[in-house]
Amino acid sequence: MEMATRSDGSPECSRAALVSMQDISKSFGENRVLRGISFDVYPGEVHALLGGNGAGKSTLMKVLMGVYAADAGRIFLNGKDISGESVQEHLAQGIAMIFQELSLLPNLTVAQNLFLGREPRKPGWRIDSKRLNEEARALIEQYRFGLKAHDRVGTLGFAQRQMVEILKAISRGAKVLVMDEPTSSLSLREETQLFKIIEELQSRGLGIVYISHRMAEVFRLAQRISIIKDGQVIGPLDTTRTSMPEVASLMSTQEADVAETVRPASRTIDRSQPVLRVEGLRTKRKLDGLTFEIASGEVLGVCGLVGSGRSTLAKALFGLLDDVAGRFIIDGKPLKIGNPAASIAAGIGFVPEDRRLEGLVLSLGLSRNVTMAKLAARIGPSWLSNGWGESDFAQFRQKLNINCRRASQLVAELSGGNQQKVVFAKWLATRPRLLILDEPTNGVDVNAKAEMRAAIRAATAQGIAVLLISSELDELVMAADRVILMVDGHITRELSELGSEADLHTLLQVDIAAVRDAGQPQDSAI
């Protein structure tokens, strides 16, 4: 098993690597997750780590963090062998990870979080709050982050919490930062801010491991790219000497998939009898009089920033909110608002944004998760054999290509993409008329994205109407038949002719600017 193509001509080879993992192998039982992987990061470098779901990225990073001990191979930090040491020691040596699920205490202030567990003391075990706040302020100042030391973390947005997390890591002497999908919950503006922070950290000589499924930002930030596939490493590749298609094809197991998922050019959609008609949908805080229709077999895309009300729209349609006014008509019949069971009975399925919290019951097996919505809608017998639902699962396992060992396997053990397929299967099992998809490809790899798009197309071919909410504009351009633009709870524009991703981006920015400008004088008038 000789693994090929490790480029020796890396531009930084004159300098010493900050951290270097050499021939790391790790197995779980019979499953060989990592097979002799080498990976290094130089000071001031962003080294992107790509790979499909379940390829071994997280395992490799857990080995780097010291959560797992490698079966074979060594880790060097600044030339010193740190293999086999604990998480605490790795942290103390300067390897820190920024988790997707942030590890901050929401009830404490920014300053208290930054110095948690090592607060400046006064005699008598008292905390020196004054010095604590001063030091926090100095730190924020030094890195020019837009934070206030005395703000409670619970009141901050996701982007600011992420900054606190980063600052906490640096202030503890981190030299290597691992960022796992850092932009997955950020809006466009926050993303730009994060990129500036990353550049600032680079200029101070930190090494950054950047894990992301979003190709564009990888190419914008990273100097080198490594791809993990089937437990082995491809690369590192020099970003300036490769291209997105090349990287995508290296990651892909079936190269044809990506190209094939472009929206079929000519589709005739009969709009005379819409599956869903929404009239004057409003909620107390977010939405302001939305009216739209979706036809059978049509994909309606919703384009807007985080906080524009797009997820509220999804939840309102599915009946999860109780402050909703307006009329929903499904297949000509009015829908009872604010009752998920009624929504399911009327044929609505909802793939929510946060699949681990909202989509899946992690303590249950795969077939139990797949049959959960069916259960809620009371489709099926009330006396259940132990194997009930396994045939459902077997069918979708094959249809959606869910990669797993058996139907009773815990859903928590699957990779993100496969988990998302399970959520999708849960709703297809109810034979829906309308599927609401809120960020269906968030945090899944290129292949799984292509598979999700194929699944969406298969659903529309059966006449299912789809409401597709996505932050990834290329996905909207590829998958949607029509797109509505949402800004601050309004629909600003409806596009039936979709241009390129860039066009969509421009239009959204124009609308945001227009709404903000229009909003300004009104606010001051009140």
Partner: protein
């Protein structure tokens, strides 16, 4: 396993086999500890190993087993019910007073049972609609119903003279099996069926495993929780009536402290206090475990105060060994 060839295979297989056994034992550590304790008593305590002992243990365990069935639903829903002991006392009092007032013996227990369910319903509504943690609601209920049981007769017990009542619930037997064991069997079978073979049972697991995901799947999470509390109230009520039958009187302090044994039984049986995992059979095994422990220590002649200490330590040890890794 397919890769193992050559001279090492014998050793590998052997070590794999013993590892598998060790794993099996670890996974079912409660049963192992249970078996060890039983064997210990059989070896040490005089006359412990007999049918008489088994029957006596199942008899005293009946109450905790029955209440543990209802409690399992509540705990798997990631809630807790601290009120079962005082609901049992209250139901015993209620049924005794109804019988005393001349309500027919066929009707009075049903009223008491529905009353127990009603208390569960109220608890469930308070927990789900007012969003008060079940720990607090049921702590309040514990206080309310133990106080009410004492108040209705100014702390006096109410005698039950109806022999049928005592026979059916406690004293009688059918084909050689005593009544309390029958009631345990029936409750366990109903509970087992509900939890493991019905839509309701699956919803209970879904609600306890991830209440948000369950809600987002259209499951009526509030309704599921309320039903779990109703079941707990009804099993507590049944146990309370059996207690009254045993002592031929409704006594306001009969059920005092039972909630702790019941919760311990459910947790020892492998149900997670955080919800989402659990089984009815485990809860029954837990109840029998606690009963065996009490009985064995009694037979060994230890004072009841020391029994409590040893019981507590073994319960903590069993749960510590059983915690999910």
């Amino acid at each position: 396993m397919t890769m193992k060839t050559g001279s090492g295979s014998q050793d590998d297989r052997h070590s794999f086999g013993s590892a598998a056994i060790a794993r099996l034992l670890l996974d079912n550590i409660t049963y192992v500890v249970f078996a060890a304790v039983t064997v210990f008593f059989m070896a040490v305590a005089p006359n412990f190993a007999s049918f008489g002992t088994a029957e006596a243990i199942l008899r005293v365990t009946a109450l905790v087993s029955i209440m543990a069935v209802g409690m399992s639903f509540v705990i798997i829903c990631a809630e807790i019910d601290l009120s079962v002991g005082s609901v049992a006392s209250w139901s015993g009092m209620l049924v005794a007073m109804l019988l005393e007032a001349g309500v027919p013996v066929q009707v009075a227990p049903i009223i008491a049972l529905l009353g127990g369910g009603g208390i569960g319903l109220l608890t469930g509504l308070l927990v789900t609609k007012l969003h008060i943690p079940s720990f607090l609601v049921t702590l309040g209920m514990l206080s309310v119903f133990s106080g009410l049981s004492l108040t209705v007769t100014t702390t006096m017990p109410v005698p039950i003279i109806d022999a049928d009542f005592a026979d059916v619930l406690w004293n009688g037997d059918l084909i050689g099996v005593p009544a309390p064991i029958w009631w345990t069997l029936i409750t366990v079978l109903v509970g087992f069926y509900l939890l493991h073979y019905t839509v309701f049972g699956r919803r209970v697991f879904a609600v306890g495993g991830g209440v948000t995901a369950a809600r987002f799947s259209g499951i009526k999470t509030d309704q599921t929780k309320i039903w779990a509390f109703v079941l707990s109230g009804m099993t507590a009520s049944l146990a309370g009536m059996m207690l009254a039958a045993r002592s031929s009187a409704g006594n306001p302090s009969l059920g005092q402290g039972l909630e702790l044994d019941v919760i311990a039984a459910v947790i020892i049986g492998g149900t997670s206090l955080f919800g989402g995992y659990g089984s009815i059979l485990g809860a029954v095994v837990g109840a029998v475990f606690i009963g065996t422990l009490g009985f064995g220590l009694l037979v060994m002649g230890l004072s009841s105060s020391i029994q409590e200490v040893i019981k507590g330590i073994i319960i903590i040890a069993a749960v510590a060994l059983n915690r999910r890794r």
